[in-house]
């Protein structure tokens, strides 16, 4: 039974149902997952997933390979539907989300044209697009290569471009799926700085990672998931200081076998 004591941005629903549910409903939250379940091929890949997500900061979704982290992120992003359970959003939340995937998928066009395409998909009027592209290029530090083919950029630049592209409609929630998994330390540092800056400007970020150091560096709180179930959630410092569940302890010690 997880400890219901100090919580960070994540407000658990499944630990002490009555008390925590009331607390979650009265606290500010951006979205609330309730008993999400997802099955494929007769296997239950996610089960009993419940949590509330605060409106700000960076939440790391931690867990070993195959735990269901990316799947949960896709559920939250609306790319797939749960078999049961539901995701409720803060009524004030306009539903705007952006997603960045592990492998940057870019159009066979220039950096500028990639951003312009995303702005057109978001139905941003032409006269606003030029200014918005300039802003995004500065933010992602890509102004110097605005006219280069997007696929000719370095890995770090490509991932920063996908981040800028995910921000075209100024989303309230940004979902990042292991965005630095294939980047070198310098590119990772650049991406993390950008992530922190975006969070500081008020965008809620949910980051899937299995890099403990990264979670420790940039996350405000952690959700630990293993075999499709949430085993632990709480502030990053508390999680790493004293993981409560045996699975989280084993994961932090590097001995968890998937």
């Amino acid at each position: 039974m997880p400890d219901p004591a100090p919580r960070g941005n994540i407000l658990p629903l499944d630990t002490a149902p009555g008390h925590n549910r009331r607390r979650a409903e009265t606290a500010a939250w951006l979205l609330m997952a309730e008993e999400l379940r997802y099955e494929r091929g007769g296997r239950c890949l996610l089960d009993g997933i419940s949590f509330a997500l605060s409106p700000s900061g960076i939440t790391a979704l931690l867990g070993p390979n195959g735990a269901g982290k990316s799947l949960l992120l896709r559920l939250l992003g609306g790319l797939i539907r749960p078999d049961s359970g539901r995701i409720r959003f803060d009524p004030a939340f306009d539903g705007s989300t952006g997603m960045v995937f592990q492998k940057p998928v870019l159009l066979r066009r220039s950096v500028r044209a990639n951003l312009d395409h995303a702005l057109r998909i978001a139905r941003i009027p032409r006269r606003q697009r030029t200014g918005r592209i300039a802003e995004l290029l500065v933010m992602a530090d890509l102004t110097h290569c605005a006219e280069s083919p997007a696929r000719a950029l370095s890995g770090g630049e490509q991932q920063r471009l996908t981040m800028a592209r995910a921000l075209v409609n100024k989303p309230r929630l940004l979902l990042l799926d292991e965005p630095t998994a294939s980047l070198d330390p310098a590119a990772t540092a650049g991406f993390e700085a950008l992530t922190r800056e975006i969070a500081r400007m008020g965008t809620k970020i949910m980051l899937v990672t299995h890099d403990l150091h990264q979670a420790r560096r940039i996350a405000d709180d952690v959700i630990f998931i293993h075999k499709g179930r949430i085993h632990e959630q709480g502030p990053t410092t508390a999680f790493f200081a004293a993981p409560r569940s045996p699975e989280a302890r084993a994961y932090c010690a590097g001995t968890l076998i998937t």
């Binding site: 998928v105 978001a122 083919p149 696929r151 000719a152």
Partner: protein, 219 residues
């Protein structure tokens, strides 16, 4: 005189075939995109039908169109039989399945790559199709050139619905057949060499485009 005649025949061949390919592209590319992106009942049947139509015998197309356009046929009132328009329609029918099938293959591959990204952007079906067509444009041009090659070298359908009328519907393939049967081998060989040259040019263009495409894909 001979040169003028050859130029007239080559020009008509190109005009008919290029128009046919443009019309086939206007139908075939959106159809291929719809089959690549859409999920609807009958999609597999439609795909199989288009693939089967790629092997459509030109004489059968010519015969079917002849029956439709002949004076006593349902479209006889249009008086299109033995006109370049009828030849364009015939070639369009033959080329459309080629372009649609090729488009579907190319756009399906690209869709598999772009799908999550475009869904995360909440792109509409039309926006997805537009994005795929734009990014696959070099590959699609190779389909158009393949279609043009097929149209230019086709004889059965244009002979039936065009009638091989001098100064009106005579194109390279029908002229070669006629001049050979008449024993006028000089004109037949000249036209044959021009047709061969065009086929070479089209194939060289195909190779250049494929190379550029591969370079772009790895960029």
């Amino acid at each position: 005189m001979l040169d003028g005649q050859i130029i007239e025949i080559v020009a008509l061949s190109l005009r008919v075939s290029v128009f046919a390919v443009i019309l086939a592209a206007l139908i075939g590319v959106p159809l291929g995109a719809l089959l690549a992106v859409g999920r609807f009942p009958g999609r597999n049947l439609a795909t199989m039908t288009i693939n089967a139509l790629m092997g459509l015998p030109p004489v059968v197309v010519g015969l079917g169109l002849y029956l439709l356009l002949s004076r006593s046929g349902p479209l006889g009132i249009l008086q299109l039989l033995y006109t370049p328009t009828a030849m364009i329609i015939a070639q369009m029918i033959l080329v459309t399945p080629i372009i649609a099938s090729f488009s579907q293959q190319v756009l399906s591959d690209l869709h598999a790559e772009y799908d999550e990204m475009l869904r995360a952007m909440k792109a509409t079906r039309l926006q997805v199709m537009g994005t795929l067509i734009r990014d696959a444009r070099h590959a699609l041009v190779t389909a158009f050139l393949a279609g043009l090659g097929r149209a230019l070298s086709e004889i059965g359908a244009v002979m039936i619905v065009g009638g091989n009328i001098n100064h009106a519907t005579r194109v390279m393939t029908t002229a070669i057949a006629l001049e050979t049967s008449k024993g006028n081998l000089r004109l037949a060989v000249s036209l044959g060499l021009i047709l061969l040259g065009l086929a070479f040019v089209i194939n060289i263009a195909l190779v250049v485009l494929r190379t550029r495409l591969e370079r772009q894909a790895h960029a």
